[in-house]
């Protein structure tokens, strides 16, 4: 049983019965990465400088963990217990939404000008968290590490679904061009009809070149964990998983916790971001 009652939560969050409460604080410097923001898009905070330190573009397919630069660096649960997220706080100048996710696998080195099926640093490494049948709910995102070209095209990926069936193909989505080319952009690839998860990605294909820049982008398979849907301008917000809904969020051992966000402003330099995660352990 995770956390049995409010009394159990009080006990464990104040350090009793091996709750081992842990608070991880983070901040991201908006001036450390320069790009033009388009409203209604998701952006990765992986390469923002801050504390804990900045993450970098992978040079091969890799399974990042809680020891990887760019992650939140939380400790693993001890004594056979499970770690739970009980609170998520974030603050920035403008309104927006923030998603906390487990970065299951990532790679880069893909080109915005190559039109054949690209397999550089692919397939993605075997999952070590949310693998096999537990891959239901995993998502495919493309992450842009340096800008691709200004000519809009479409992109798809071939992948192995939650049942282990390979050669599945994502529906085409827009790639390249304003709003879909910028450094830190995260572009979600929807799954084929009938699929509910992903185990690996084998290739990525652009319908046409984005022309003006090859850039550098890659595939990240993520497991969304928590959301702050309406960060109020200035005040920030706390998503509370104790008396709020849903309940405490289980965090896998070695989870590479990272953030993506959807700002409600195009003034990128104003996006000072800070926040915290509160954890507790339970059987």
């Amino acid at each position: 049983m995770p956390i049995s009652s409010l009394s159990d939560a009080v006990l464990k969050l104040t350090g009793g019965s091996n709750g081992n409460p842990e608070a991880i604080w983070w901040f991201k410097d908006p001036t450390s990465v320069a790009y033009t923001v388009t409203l209604g898009r998701m952006y990765s905070l992986w390469t923002y400088a801050g504390n804990p330190c900045v993450g970098t573009a992978p040079t091969a397919s890799a399974v990042p963990t809680n020891a990887t630069d760019g992650s939140m660096r939380q400790t693993n649960a001890s004594g056979g217990r499970t770690k739970y997220l009980t609170g998520l706080y974030a603050m920035m100048k403008v309104q927006g939404a923030l998603i906390l996710y487990d970065r299951l696998v990532h790679q880069a080195g893909l080109s915005g000008t190559t039109t054949g099926a690209q397999t550089t640093n692919l397939p993605t490494s075997a999952l070590t968290r949310y693998s096999g049948a537990a891959s239901v709910g995993n998502q495919i995102w493309l992450e842009i590490y340096s800008p691709v070209g200004t000519t809009a095209t479409t992109v798809s990926a071939t992948y192995t679904n939650e049942s282990g069936t390979g050669s599945k193909t994502t529906p085409l989505v827009t790639f390249g061009g304003t709003g879909e080319l910028e450094q830190t952009r995260m572009i979600h690839l929807p799954l084929a009809t009938g699929d509910t998860g992903v185990r690996s990605v084998e290739s990525v294909t652009l319908s046409a070149s984005t022309v003006s820049a090859a850039g550098n982008f890659g595939v990240t398979i993520v497991r969304p964990l928590a959301l702050i849907a309406n960060i109020s301008s200035g005040a920030g917000a706390v998503t509370d998983y104790i008396t709020g809904k849903p309940g405490p969020v289980p965090i896998a051992d070695n989870a590479c916790l990272a953030l993506m966000y959807d700002p409600a402003s195009t003034t990128q330099a104003s996006f000072f971001l800070t926040g915290a995660l509160q954890f507790v352990e339970s059987a």
Partner: protein, 274 residues
């Protein structure tokens, strides 16, 4: 220290072991972080003239006043709730309660050499492993209007010296005002800080002013929604944030607002002892 159950928590909330009132007022620029250790209107702070370890007695008017809780004999104090309110413009504000571990002053915003005045910072006496410790630049008195960047040389959580922060904005509008707090991002591979050895500006801001470095440990968020409305915080509705307060912690706030103008923040903090 732990609190056994919900009933015990409610009992502590109704009759906390320590209930401390807090009030600061000053002037803020929208979209920037302020360090309430340096209240920029009342009282006007006197910059530290040496590098010192901050503690819960750092409360002399004119200096960087802290909240000033009393150390319990068992070294077991926990913040279980707060009622805080702000009056600033028409927008929302946010506070982060932190423990100010060490600080210093006397740095010159026109000097471009590596500055070591009142540095290195003294050895930490709390959170001595440095993990999760942030570097905060505090502007004690107004620096210049020319924007530049700032870096610091520091020793990381592993004890490795000669680490360098990522350059970040310093000087110019929004980054020069007294009371401003500027957080310095760490070098790749690092998760915390044990000490700062020097600070370097890329260029002069054209006014020397006075600024310094503090090492801080953030502890609890407080979201202040709505102008002139208080925010009630307790651990069961605030995501479980109920930080243990180590003995001698020098508690203060970082503040952030989406408005420019005069501000006042006040309220009470509720502590439970084991």
């Amino acid at each position: 220290m732990s609190i056994a159950d919900k009933a015990s928590l409610f009992a502590k909330m109704a009759a906390p072991d320590q209930r401390l009132w807090y009030f600061k007022q000053g002037q803020m620029t929208a979209g920037t972080i302020y360090d309430f250790a340096n209240p920029n209107m009342n009282p006007v702070a006197t910059p530290p003239t040496t590098a010192v370890v901050c503690d819960n007695t750092l409360n002399t008017p004119g200096l960087a006043q802290c909240i000033g809780q009393t150390n319990p004999a068992a070294n077991a104090l926990r913040l279980i709730g707060a009622t805080l309110g702000a009056s600033l413009g028409l927008d929302d504000n946010s506070l982060i309660l932190y423990d100010r571990l060490v600080h210093q002053g006397g740095l010159d915003a026109t000097s471009i050499a590596a500055q070591t005045t009142n540095l290195p910072t003294p050895a930490l006496t709390r959170y001595t492993d440095g993990v999760g410790v942030w570097i905060l630049v505090t502007v004690w008195t107004l620096v210049g209007t020319t924007a530049t960047t700032i870096t610091a040389s520091y020793t990381n959580q592993a004890g490795t010296a000669g680490r360098t922060t990522v350059a970040t904005a310093f000087g110019g509008t929004g980054f020069r005002e007294f009371g401003r707090g500027i957080l310095l991002p760490l070098q790749a591979g690092d998760t915390g800080v044990k000490s700062v050895e020097s600070v370097t500006l890329a260029a002069s801001t054209t006014t020397a002013g006075n600024f310094g470095v503090a090492l801080i440990k953030p502890l609890m968020p407080v979201c202040l929604h709505r102008f002139d409305h208080e925010s009630l915080v307790n651990m069961l509705t605030n995501g479980g944030f109920a930080p243990a307060i180590v003995n001698s912690a020098s508690l203060n706030f970082l503040a952030y607002s989406a408005s420019t103008g005069a501000w006042a923040v006040g309220g009470e903090l509720l502590f439970a002892e084991d």
